[in-house]
């Protein structure tokens, strides 16, 4: 059946029988799974995928191209975890299955290699990421891009490539990590917070990082932004590069624990979710168990932090119809749903309109919208339909991936809607509308 090498891989990465048996296949996850909704095939559902993983673990099913495709088709949005009454940790199962896949010949495909190079060599090293971003930024601003887009638009065959090209986030004119001081002291500091700049946020959404720091200062925080902080590791873990993800996690634990702070604030839902899990990852690591637990206990999403403190008196009216899209890694992974809405509701005169299926993935899902572009498009369409129904002028959300994806979709459909991070709207109300 399977080689001993493969069997060792399975033992090393796949969850043990206790975890796999916890799924009692009731099917409650089917209703919320975006990929099951697309195919209506049981194997594209969380219940089906768990059964396939279980069969692989038991050795009754060899790792096959269909299996690999299903693991990659999954958005890892974890809506099923919210829906699962039995509390099955599906996300971890899929991530571990991807870890197995990436070690086999199926991981050595062209797009698999691109993913690995991109994430292991570039994103994992912040200096290289910034260098790459600078090169890319030059490309975005130069004639080269206009020329390439022109060439791509010549033939229908390149339509898809052209779409993917337009998905790439505009590189910011400045990098937040270069602008932020290691320590922003505050004369009457009420809280001492550490700040994770994030990789994508830093180079593509630097303004949001700036807004975050401005808001934190305004509400009375001393802010520590360690200059040698690493990528949180989430992007690696989600595509199955678990080892790399964990080594980055260790680095962050080391870096941040050399400072004293009350909370570690993140404005990227994906980073926050992953850092909250460090404690679980290193549970059995004698050296890191305790440190990781403390590290994770201090992590807070910016909306979570703001919801817990008092700053209403600093807000000025914003008279707009606003809707809120739940980022998967905030609502499903971190279970943060009420807090951002409460924070927005504090803004005077704001009118909040509920978004139908607000917790349904937008299709961004890390780099899913690039590597599985066609599937992501279908999922995005559903989100755009719901957004249109609200009639809102601004859609607020809490994750860079969603912001990029929604901006792309809204532009493509020609809708009049602005996409903003929760913290940016707070900043607008706090400082711009004075």
């Amino acid at each position: 059946m399977i080689s001993s090498e493969e069997s060792n891989l399975l033992k090393k990465y796949l969850p043990n029988d206790d975890v796999l048996t916890q799924c009692m296949h009731c099917g409650m996850c089917l209703a919320v799974c975006p990929t099951y909704e697309l195919t209506k095939l049981e194997r594209s559902s969380p219940r089906g995928r768990i059964r396939l993983i279980k069969s692989i673990a038991e050795g009754t099913l060899p790792i096959s191209s269909i299996f690999v495709d299903e693991m990659n088709f999954c958005l890892d949005c974890q809506a099923c975890e919210t829906a699962c009454p039995a509390g099955v940790k599906y996300g971890k199962m899929v991530e571990s299955a991807r870890a197995v896949v990436s070690q086999t010949s199926f991981g050595k495909t062209f797009s698999g290699m691109i993913k690995k190079v991109l994430l292991n060599k570039v994103v994992a090293d912040h200096r290289k990421l910034k260098l790459a971003a600078k090169v890319f930024s030059f490309y975005q601003r130069s004639f080269v891009r206009r020329f390439l887009v022109f060439i791509l638009s010549l033939s229908k065959r390149f339509a898809r490539l052209k779409e993917i090209e337009s998905l790439t986030p505009e590189i910011s004119s400045f990098f937040s990590s270069e602008m932020l001081a290691e320590r922003e002291s505050h004369p009457k500091a009420k809280y001492k917070v550490a700040f994770l700049t994030g990789c994508i946020m830093d180079v593509a959404f630097a303004e949001i990082n700036k807004d975050t720091v401005d808001v934190l200062k305004e509400v009375g925080c001393e802010i520590i932004t360690p200059q040698n902080q690493a990528c949180c590791g989430s992007l690696h873990a989600h595509i199955g590069e678990m080892e790399r993800g964990l080594s980055l996690a260790k680095k962050n634990i080391d870096v941040f624990s050399s400072y004293t702070y009350d909370f570690l604030v993140s404005n990227s839902a994906g980073c926050g979710a992953f850092m909250k899990e460090y404690g679980d990852f290193f549970e059995h690591d004698p050296e890191y168990a305790e440190k990781a637990k403390i590290f994770s206990s201090k992590v807070k999403d910016i909306s979570e932090f703001l919801a817990g403190i008092d700053f209403e008196q600093k807000l000025h009216p914003i008279n707009e119809l606003v809707t809120y899209h739940d980022a998967c890694h905030l609502c499903h992974s971190q279970k943060v749903t009420e807090q951002p809405r409460n924070v927005l509701a504090k803004i005077p005169e704001i009118e909040l309109k509920a978004l139908d299926e607000s917790t349904w993935c937008c299709g961004s899902a890390g780099i899913y919208n690039v590597v599985r572009h066609d599937d992501a498009e279908k999922i995005l369409e559903r989100k755009l339909d719901n957004l249109e129904k609200t009639g809102a002028k601004i859609v607020v959300t809490g994750n860079p991936g969603c912001i990029g994806q929604l901006k792309y979709g809204i532009k493509k459909r020609g809708m009049e809607m602005k996409v903003m991070h929760t913290v940016s709207l707070v900043k607008k109300s706090m400082l711009d509308n004075k």
Binding site: D17, D18, T21, Q22, M24, H25, C26, G27, M28, L30, A31, K40, L41, E42, R43, S45, R47, G48, R51, L52, S55, T60, L61, S64, I66, F67, E70, C84, P85, A86, G87
Partner: protein, 466 residues
């Protein structure tokens, strides 16, 4: 589809412990395709197993040996909502919860609400005669089926019923096929009855320090000449697990909890709510609360719907049963379940539609622990026997399928089974449609012998069981 991956992912439904790989999985495009498949099955002697969303709890849609699974989930169009006649015509793959939302937009109401309604299909509901929380006042699926269009095991097309409120032309075939668990035909269209949507409802919760008092309160409520739309019961184990999942503030220190709803129009709802509250008080309920907001009420009800799966938080394998007794006997039955739990040393979480006398004692166990599973089965034997002694039945709403087949004779008697077998063998002489569910038919002596090597063991085992 015949890939190993597809066979694996259609080898199970919501039933614990049971699974079987099919030989192929088919998503039929039209009636003609299903019809030719059935005809071919009769010629080539393979089985056909119809399936909706696969959330059943008695094994109705688990493949049999040498079978082809016919998945109906892509037949998911609502064909017509007739507001003049209060009927709706649907394809069998329409999801129950989505259908309810659509008709409620028009001020109409489709009451049957099984726990899996966000996923399960109307076709599956009709095949299993599914119940739900609102059964007490509104009845179950069969009370809302006006007609069906179906393919018989022979591949022939049959239309039953219509939009008439009254219709006594001939045998009532509708009630024969409702709850037939996919053994008599494959539905292709369903005509449903709708009712006006109640304009007002009140959801009430109450905790009890003694489980017996909750049972007594239910019996008294039933006898009090009011009809709440639901009376749901949860024991301590269930309350704790549901709270762990939903975090909506249920009181884990209570021995039992009742969740009740009264609905209707105008002041009657308030009057009924007062009667409910006074009966609850009389039976020593504490912390009686009326959910103020619509949202709170919805959250309470969906928390209750998740009860079965939430119990899996405690132990990986949850074997859920469906014993039902006349409502006056409910307090006794609740005690019997407790007795079974201690006598056979298994953890049982108990909850259910108390107002219908329909309990779901759920054994929390681990499929890998053979001894415990054996004990669980013994405990359920005990519970079933007690239910029948009290004038009850082995299954209220989940169906017989594979899981309760061995207990069927106790519930319906030898003659009952014989009559069912006669129906099955006339409608499906080759026994190709979902064979072995509800009951086993052995081929008659003059019947065809197996034509393929693979079907010999199957044939032999049927001969032996005869």
């Amino acid at each position: 589809m015949t890939s190993a991956e597809d066979k694996i992912s259609y080898s199970y439904d919501g039933t614990p412990l049971l699974y079987q790989l099919p030989e192929a999985v088919i998503f039929p495009k039209d009636i003609a395709q299903i019809s030719s498949l059935l005809k071919l099955a009769n010629e080539e002697k393979f089985s056909v197993v119809p399936r909706g969303a696969g959330t059943g709890l008695s094994g109705g849609s688990i493949p049999t040996e040498n079978s082809v699974v016919v998945v109906m989930t892509k037949w998911n169009n609502i064909l017509e909502i007739d507001q003049a006649n209060l009927t709706a015509s649907v394809e069998p793959g329409v999801v129950t919860g989505l259908f309810q939302k659509e008709v409620e937009k028009l001020g109409l109401f489709y009451p049957p609400d099984p726990g899996s309604m966000s996923v399960c299909t109307l076709g599956g509901n009709v095949a299993e005669n599914a119940g739900g929380l609102r059964g007490l006042k509104y009845g179950v699926t069969k009370n809302y089926v006006l007609g069906v269009e179906m393919l018989l095991p022979s591949g022939e097309f049959l239309k039953i019923g219509g939009k008439n409120v009254k219709d006594v032309a001939g045998y009532n075939l509708r009630d024969v096929v409702i709850g037939s668990e996919g053994t008599l035909g494959i539905f292709t269209k369903i005509l449903l009855r709708l009712v006006p949507l109640p304009t007002k409802s009140k959801t009430i919760t109450a905790n009890f320090d003694k489980i017996l008092n909750s049972g007594k309160a239910v019996s008294e409520l039933i006898a009090s000449r009011i009809t709440p739309s639901m009376i749901e019961f949860l024991d301590k184990t269930t309350i704790t697990c549901v709270e762990d999942y939903t975090k909506i503030g249920l009181d884990g220190s209570a021995e039992a909890m009742l969740l009740l709803e009264v609905d209707g129009r105008g002041s009657i709802v308030d009057e009924d709510a007062e009667v409910v509250v006074s009966i609850l008080k009389k039976n020593n309920a504490r912390n009686i609360q009326i959910a103020e907001k619509m949202n709170d009420a919805l959250r309470l009800k969906s928390a209750r719907r998740a009860a079965f799966s939430a119990l899996a938080r405690r132990k990986p394998t949850t074997i859920l049963e469906d014993a039902t007794v006349p409502r006056s006997e409910l307090p006794v039955m609740i005690e019997k379940v407790k007795e079974a739990s201690s006598a056979y040393n298994v953890l049982i979480g108990n909850f259910g539609h108390a107002g219908d006398g329909n309990l779901h004692p759920t054994c929390l166990t681990d499929e890998r622990d053979v001894k415990e599973i054996t004990n669980a089965h013994r405990a359920f034997d005990f519970i079933f026997n007690e239910a029948i002694k009290l004038g009850g039945t082995i299954t209220g709403e989940h169906g017989t399928g594979l899981a309760k087949k061995q207990f069927l004779e106790n519930a319906v008697g030898k003659e009952g089974i014989e009559f069912m077998k006669k129906i099955k063998s006339v409608v499906d002489p080759m026994n190709i449609l979902n064979p072995g569910k509800i009951l086993s038919i052995s081929p008659r002596c003059e019947g065809a012998l197996p034509q393929k090597r693979e079907s010999i063991p199957d044939f032999n085992s049927q001969q032996h069981s005869h």
